[in-house]
Subunit: 522 residues, 2 copies
């Protein structure tokens, strides 16, 4: 099943001179399959197929696209333990995490399937003509969301399934009617290959246009850059580093026709612990925070990397529980050697900063693992050194002690854009809690009033996004029902004969959609 | 009333060393008021006020923002003939046009007022908690659209009211809850001043935060650039030239925190005349096209600058009617000397092109006027010279003769992004009509099946947008009910106590909004 070759629609690419292998995260050993980097001709072929497929795929009934998404989910589930084992080997992530991520991936596909089968997501708006209006007759105008065109999705290192080949961006783009070309992440090319096969099989068995989906391998950046620069591509989805996201934003902006890039880049997900909450449930908060920091060896974009607390509150039970739980966390393999090296470098830089105190570092005897770390600094130092709030991608967090609520609010105001922020409060904290929430909603995509930010509910109201630099475009979510909108734009038809309108806009409402007619929801 | 000074919230700026005057479009004569260019300190003051005003303005009930928009409309109407006369003098546009544009401006303000008073535009989504769910309890997540923050709006040369100080972008930004700073267009600073006074008076009389609105003058680019680069500004609205729009896009992308720019830049609004339509109603199409080309001396972004017809169709009645009507169009003053000079230069460049034949040029004895012009080329020449489809901003259009339907489709495929495209067809044209519509919806924001693109209906379904370079971001409209969305993003609250949620998301639904609860519209 794993040939190591890219998918150009239903075909496999020719072998190329450039090959690479994946490495087992836990041992660094090369895994068996040899992967062939896509050639410039492969990029052109995939883009051409996608462009050719677009009009027919766009115009499929929502039920057909829904069936496609459901077939992908079923095919992924049918891969069973084969997929789990390979993803575990490639990423070092434990079995429950891979199984959970697979379930989430299939759940996302079915969420979007249900939306496109229902069909009302297209936001059909109809304003009927009035030929007798004076001074000018009123035309008939009708608009709905339409897909942008072929989309490139980059697989993410830290989510081999939910943010990769059949992950959120692929699912929402296909649901919207956009052909997708995935640039597989070289850290888990086998997982990508199995999932790509599941998608291609679904497309072929349902008779969809061949260019609906392609998947290209590359170890370096050339294929990704060529895809983003290709004139047929109309949008890009990416989850990864800030440098990677910024590079794609720049490439996309420099095209003769600039295109949107939806890059999720970095976030330290600040957690504010107000004095009442610390007094009421400090130990429980410490244990739960530790679990969130250490989850998945800290390799989550929602990992809480900054914890702000009031110096004058009694934080001893919290600190003791946090330290004990982090200390007790068994070091586990990180996703790959590069991520581990970057973790150690950024962690050590933090430890070496004169204003930072190292509270705890779990030693990691095994060379593939990343142990937990806990640091402390003052609010004044953080405000004076914004670099202290940079992302440390791994199981590390920085406690920040503030001199009272005003300094906590100052930290909130100084925050860069984040995916999430969390405020734990008790009844006695109400004034500060209220002020913090008012600031934080301008800095993040999701504000939490309980719990911790790792673990993301996939539903209709979730927002996984945030102002720059958390993402490139905070007006769009990558997770949840609203993710469908990022790959669309509203198109209006004026005085076009009914039979030539898309079915969603035809007068008889053949799809039985909820529509807005003359300004009134129906 | 006209002091020539900028508005910094409720205050007037100090006089600056840099002054300019407006010129009467019809004569070039200087108009009486002296305007003072804003200083860097004025920019900083306006941005600071806007930033300070944001949280309170954002959190106002929709009814308060609705009352504000209605008060602005009433104040503008109360300006009556004073406003009409000054706008006519500054722009050279005729009285019915200025009165129509004033009515449209006030209509837009009231459309948005109605939307924010109703309140359901915020797209409230609620997914309720399920603490008993296994393996993990389900959190409570609630999201809604929230305003981005302070917005800069650039007044447009060609729409002194509907796309300027209280125009579409200002109205939708204020409706969404964003403070607005207008950079007045130097072509109609008096009109801007009167309308700004109408807005400031409304804000003051309703007790709104002072920084809700400011308006700055400048003859050059420094104030606009400083505003777009200011860290408090979160989005930009612009209607103007492609070079101006591209410069703003670049400035915004280079900020430490890039922000969205909604620039409407250029469009030639192609019109396809299929053979059956030409045979059936050629003369009527010619006369109607001429009226659209000449409307407002061609100074509309929706002006039809490219007309594609089949060489083998009988186009004589169409051509005769078009030429006669254009010939009969009285030359009228253009907006300003720069626009007129640019019109003559681009028109003459087209005339001088070896593949272009000049069919008609109406002489303009008066130095302020622009006369109509009509050119012809072949589809092959157009496809070989994409520059021939560049915008000529004025009453000029280019007929393109194609060798049959395939060449017409090739032209459609080769089009850059446009605001509009129009297809006139008869029953016998169905196959080509269908194929054209399928291509054109990917190139434009609005497809017309009858009529001509000038004259824009302001309603819930209209789209005034289009793929780059028609606009910088084809996913957003500048006109119509959906324009409210461009200045917002979805924010999610997870497990936040009910009393601390925005009212739109509170369990009791105190605003009685339509909401999506657990995936179901209610």
């Amino acid at each position: 099943m794993l040939t190591g070759l890219s998918y150009l629609g239903f075909q496999r690419s020719a072998p190329s001179g450039l090959t690479f292998t994946a490495r087992a995260a836990a041992t660094g050993a090369a895994l068996p399959t040899t992967y062939h980097a896509a050639s410039p001709a492969d990029v052109a072929a995939a883009a051409h197929l996608a462009q050719q497929a677009f009009p027919a795929f766009r115009d499929l009934p929502g039920t057909s696209r829904g069936a496609f998404l459901r077939a992908i989910a079923a095919n992924i589930e049918a891969l069973g333990q084969t997929l789990t084992d390979l993803a575990m080997a490639e990423t070092g992530l434990p079995e429950p995490r891979i199984k959970g991520e697979t379930a989430r991936t299939c759940g996302q596909l079915r969420l979007f399937a249900a939306m496109v089968e229902d069909g009302s997501w297209v936001d059909a708006r109809i304003d009927r003509a009035d030929p007798s209006r004076s001074p000018l007759p009123k035309p008939d105008t009708r608009s709905q969301l339409r897909p942008l065109g072929p989309v490139v999705v980059f697989g993410a290192a830290n989510f081999p399934l939910a943010y990769s080949t059949a992950g959120g961006d692929t699912a929402s783009a296909l649901a919207a009617g956009c052909p997708v070309i995935v640039k597989a992440h070289p850290g888990h090319p086998g997982t990508a290959g199995l999932v790509a096969a599941a998608i291609v099989d679904a497309a072929r068995s349902l008779g969809l246009p061949e260019g609906t989906f392609s998947m290209l391998y590359d170890l370096g950046h050339a294929t990704g850059a060529a895809l983003v620069s290709h004139p047929s591509i109309q949008a890009v989805g990416f989850t990864g580093s800030r440098s990677g996201g910024l590079a794609l934003m720049q490439l996309a902006a420099q095209r003769p026709q600039p295109i949107p890039v939806f890059a999720e880049m970095s976030s330290v997900n600040p957690v504010f612990l107000l004095p009442g909450a610390l007094a009421e449930r400090g130990a429980a908060l410490g244990a739960a925070l530790a679990a969130s920091v250490a989850l998945g060896v800290g390799q989550f974009c929602t990992n809480p990397g900054l914890v702000i607390l009031d110096r004058r509150a009694d934080s001893t039970p919290f600190r003791d529980a946090l330290a004990a739980a982090l200390q007790a966390t068994a070091p586990a393999p990180m996703l790959n050697a590069g991520i581990r090296q970057n973790y150690l470098l950024t962690r050590d830089a933090l430890a070496a900063h004169p204003d930072v105190r190292e509270l705890l570092t779990v030693p990691t005897p095994h060379p593939a693992c990343g142990g937990a770390a806990l640091f402390e600094t003052s609010a004044a130092a953080l405000l004076a050194n914004p670099s202290l709030s940079g992302e440390v991608f791994g199981p590390s967090t920085l406690l920040v002690t503030a001199d009272g609520p005003e300094e906590m609010l100052a930290i909130a105001r100084a925050l860069e854009g984040q995916l999430t922020a969390t405020v734990h409060a008790a009844a006695s904290d109400l004034p500060t809690q209220r002020d913090l929430l008012a600031i934080l909603e301008t800095r993040v995509g999701r504000v939490l009033g309980a719990g911790f930010p790792t673990g993301l509910e996939v539903n209709h109201s979730i927002v996984h996004s945030g102002p720059f630099p958390a993402t490139s475009d905070g007006r769009s979510t990558s997770v949840g029902g609203a993710a469908l909108f990022r790959f669309t734009r509203q198109v209006c038809w004026q005085d076009v004969p009914d039979a030539l309108l898309p079915p969603a806009l035809q007068e008889a409402n053949p799809l039985a959609l909820r529509r807005t007619v003359d300004g009134t929801p129906t």
